[in-house]
């Protein structure tokens, strides 16, 4: 299997898990998405041979990218805690089996009622179901840039309004679960 094909398959299968792991550590959906994209662009597995755990490799690369992005931001003081957590993980060298599964929290954030219903479905398909942005656009018969903008705006809103990356508490859970099930 070519490195590019392997990368595509890893992203398709493990995107949700990777994204959830990144969001869990940084609390910033957009930054997590950007870090993952940047890490995927770095892949040069053909030359050095395939890593034992491609998913673990991607997570480490993405963690480094996320740390860089916090540093570049200048508001480093605000993000110090996130940077420390990221740095610890990056040093520990995660492999596929030690990446905790935060996908349940990711589902709840993607299906948050503060997002429009179409956006919830699109964001869930993109973040958890392994679809590429063009594929999600095709599902809705939307133009790719339009869907790209919808997804960007959603991530920006999640960060700006601070939609939390949590499993809802008992008082919110019934309504939030309903939102997840209707989206699914």
């Amino acid at each position: 299997m070519s490195p590019q094909a392997l990368l595509a398959r890893v992203l398709q299968q493990d995107r949700g898990r990777l994204l959830a792991a990144l969001v869990a550590r940084g609390e910033d959906f957009q930054r997590a998405e950007d870090a993952l994209q940047a890490a995927a662009a770095l892949v040069h597995w053909g030359r050095a041979g395939l890593p034992a755990s491609p998913t673990g490799w991607l997570l480490r690369a993405a963690l480094r990218k996320a740390i860089d992005s916090y540093r570049r931001d200048g508001a480093a003081a605000r993000h110090r805690l996130a940077m420390e957590v990221l740095a610890q993980d990056e040093a520990a060298g995660p492999d596929r089996h030690t990446i905790p599964d935060d996908r349940l929290r990711l589902i709840f954030i993607c299906c948050h009622p503060a997002l429009e219903e179409k956006t919830r479905v699109a964001l869930t398909l993109r973040s958890l179901c392994g679809l590429t942005s063009p594929q999600v656009a095709a599902v809705f018969l939307d133009a790719e840039p339009t869907m790209g903008q919808r997804l960007s705006r959603a991530r920006a809103k999640i960060a700006a309004a601070r939609i939390p990356f949590v499993i809802p508490g008992p008082e919110d859970l019934p309504a939030r679960l309903n939102s997840v099930l209707t989206t699914a």
Binding site: A160, A161, R162, I163, P164, V166, D172
Partner: protein
């Protein structure tokens, strides 16, 4: 994080002053920040007098223009606000759900800009 909650209601949708429902509603407003203190901290909150008391001001090319009335004619009118400190949007939403205006009208929840 700070959120501004703006309360909107169509005229006539709220209980009229002098009724028992009105007194009940006012009681809820007065006790709201204390009741919700574990969910969010209320930094400020006021009811506004009606849109008929509003004046809108614009400054264009150095000239001040004032207009009688609210900045836009809307079906639901701005009636009040809360400025709250909450950990995240979910906490802000739980606070907003307890505001009486949410039952008769709408409550907009927006994060405050930080620079």
């Amino acid at each position: 994080m700070k959120y501004l909650l703006t309360l909107y209601a169509a005229p006539g949708s709220e209980p009229a002053p002098g009724t028992r429902e009105f007194d009940g509603m006012m009681g809820e407003y007065f006790s709201l920040s204390e009741r919700m203190k574990n969910t969010a901290t209320c930094l400020a909150g006021e009811g506004l007098q009606g849109v008929e008391t509003a004046t809108t001001l614009r400054r264009r090319a150095g000239r001040v223009e004032t207009m009688d009335g609210p900045f836009a004619e809307t079906r639901e009118h701005l009636g009040g606000f809360y400025l709250i400190e909450a950990a995240d949007l979910d906490a802000a939403l739980r606070f907003a759900a307890e505001i009486p205006a949410a039952r008769y009208g709408s409550v907009e929840i927006r994060p405050v800009m930080y620079y």
